[in-house]
């Protein structure tokens, strides 16, 4: 089935004319039609638009102007990234009728690479959540077990790749929202270094943490997608001016190293709350790296226990500010019951936002309110400095840090409905990378006895995605988890 093949493999098939982009795109459309009633990874899709892009790709190729490995490959997009003429709902009722008048920079770059922009993928409303249960348009199911969540907030993006409804996808990661669902769904997800990928056109949740990144079947596919979207963008003032290396080439042609790489195991990530099956799978990955000649060092990230608190203050403060723009005046839903301007704000926001978004806006407003700023927000920013310094010190000793992506495997839908703190704590291993701006990748490293994927997380040094991808590839090349598909 072409929908279960990798970008690299399909690029080869397209180049050899064994397959056309129209045939591939039609296969993705057919696959989506077949499994979507059970998976519900999408908020919407436009088959005619995708096929028109595929035809254009085939014509380009026939004329000898193919643009590279993404040309003609259908890529699904999280429904908080702007695509001209397509809905951008952020899985919220407040934007249910919104259609984007412009492309996000990552979309412009994918188009320039020839990718077929395919479908809008479900998420936790405004990317707030860890299960995709907070979508106003219904919960996505984990393709490996339809009674379980796909993770979140990029649950639709991860589920679509796992289910063969897209060959690759884009998600966004504010506290682990690419890596956590990738781990739950048995695919590879990369949160790039903050500033490597433009956020222009991303519906902002927490601007100092958000980063767009790829979800794919393999590390090589992640390198291909990252290549297309990385690089400075004058439209994003937090975008870094840095040369983008050839990530894919770096996987296959590496100069010999004079010294072994060092991997750090943070002791704070392997304690209470870690599922023994997850711990064992990550332990086996560590053993594999040892066998390859990596040197393993135990390290400490002493402020790890404070990551969640800092995240909740910083993320909610920024979200309360960012979502102030959704006021019923310029775009989106406007309450028909409102009579004056303030009434428009309060009623529109009451009708338009779901409970998780309201909860976070309320918390963010509280921590920024008069008399509390110093006690909460300023203190959190100072502890964020200490968290960042923990990582800086660790990277003086090691090239990358190896951890589980999540404390457990995908949980049942509704399992944490009455225990929010436990749900929030499930992001504990991924949040640090966002607070420190580091790149992090999650890739499958095993399956539980319940046949649920287990994710391995590797955290790297800023802008050293090449090293991170190489290290991830060293594990993946000797394992075949990426070839294991859910039985749908």
């Amino acid at each position: 089935m072409p929908t279960h093949r990798t970008i690299a493999d399909l690029a080869d098939a397209l180049a050899k004319k064994e397959l056309s982009s129209v045939e591939l795109t039609q296969a993705v459309i057919d696959r989506t039609a077949a499994v979507e009633p059970r998976v519900r990874a999408f908020t919407s899709w436009d088959s005619a638009d995708a096929l028109a892009q595929a035809r254009a790709s085939d014509e380009r190729r026939a004329a000898g102007h193919a643009r590279g490995p993404l040309d003609g490959i259908p890529i699904g997009i999280k429904d908080n990234i702007a695509v001209t003429g397509q809905p951008l709902t952020a899985s919220s009722k407040i934007l249910a009728s919104y259609r984007s008048p412009y492309d996000a920079t990552v979309i412009t770059r994918l188009r320039n690479a020839g990718a077929v922009i395919w479908g809008r993928l479900n998420l936790d409303e405004f990317a707030m959540g860890s299960s995709t249960e907070n979508s106003a348009f219904g919960t996505t199911a984990n393709p490996h077990d339809l009674t379980r969540v796909p993770g979140g907030s990029s649950g639709g993006s991860a589920a679509a790749v796992a289910a063969g409804e897209a060959i690759g996808t884009l998600g966004s990661d504010t506290g682990g929202s690419i890596r956590q669902p990738a781990a739950f769904c048995g695919v590879t997800g990369l949160k790039p270094t903050y500033g490597l990928v433009s956020r222009y056109g991303l519906a902002a949740f927490a601007s100092s943490l958000d980063q767009i990144g790829p979800l794919t079947r393999t590390v090589e596919d992640t390198a291909i997608l990252l290549q297309a979207i990385a690089g400075h963008d004058p439209l994003d003032s937090t975008s870094c001016q840095i040369a983008v290396p050839d990530y894919r080439a770096a996987l296959h042609s590496r100069p010999p190293r004079s010294a072994p790489r060092h991997l750090g195991i943070p002791r704070e990530y392997f304690g209470e709350g870690l599922d023994p099956e997850v711990g064992a799978a990550v332990g086996q990955a560590v053993a594999h790296y040892k066998k390859l000649g990596y040197e393993i060092r135990e390290i400490s990230l002493p402020h790890t226990e404070h990551c969640l608190s800092v995240y909740f203050i910083v993320a909610t403060a920024e979200c309360s500010s960012n979502l102030a723009r959704l006021d019923g005046i310029r775009y989106g839903h406007r309450s028909p019951a409102a009579t004056d301007a303030v009434d428009i704000y309060t009623k529109t926001r009451a009708e338009g936002f779901g409970p998780e978004v309201k909860r976070r806006i309320i918390l963010g407003t509280y921590v920024l309110s008069s008399g509390y700023y110093d006690a909460y927000y300023l203190r959190a920013q100072k502890v964020r400095t200490l968290i960042r310094q923990d990582f800086q010190k660790a990277f003086e000793q090691v090239d990358a840090i190896i951890t589980p992506a999540n404390p457990g495997t995908a949980f049942k839908k509704g399992e944490y409905a009455k225990n929010l703190m436990a749900l929030y704590l499930s992001d504990i291993y991924t949040i640090g990378a966002n607070l420190a701006g580091l790149p992090g990748i999650s890739l499958p490293c095993g399956y539980s006895k319940d046949n649920l994927p287990i994710g391995l997380q590797l955290l790297g040094q800023p802008f050293k995605e090449t090293d991170l991808l190489q290290i991830a590839h060293d594990y993946e090349a000797a394992h075949d988890w990426a070839k294991r598909f859910p039985n749908l």
Binding site: R99, Y194, H306, F312, I361, I362, K382, L386, Y424, P462
Partner: protein, 94 residues
């Protein structure tokens, strides 16, 4: 719930009408979150500079030059109400 979390006041600041049920639920849930956050007070942050971003960033200025923009139709395409190429809102002054 912390004694000083005045949910009505915060909801007013956030410009969100909350139902009595939401107020009760959020107060309890946010009480749990704030209790967790309280642990930050144990951290010694003396002489620690705050971090606003993972990396230092500086103001970036765009050249003040005319360029392509959205057309009025595109800009108004998502407006909940419009009239004469403008977004329509209820009267805000007497």
């Amino acid at each position: 719930m912390p004694a000083d979390l005045d949910i009505d006041h915060i909801a007013r600041l956030a410009r969100i009408d909350l139902t009595p049920e939401e107020k009760a639920a959020f107060s309890a849930q946010l009480g749990d979150v704030l209790a967790h956050i309280e642990k930050l007070k144990q951290v010694d942050v003396t002489c620690v500079e705050p971090t606003a971003h993972g990396f230092p960033i500086y103001n970036v200025w765009q050249a003040d030059e005319p360029g392509p923009t959205l057309t009025p139709e595109q800009a108004l395409g998502n407006a909940p109400a419009q009239r004469d190429n403008m977004i329509a809102v209820p009267k805000v002054v007497e």
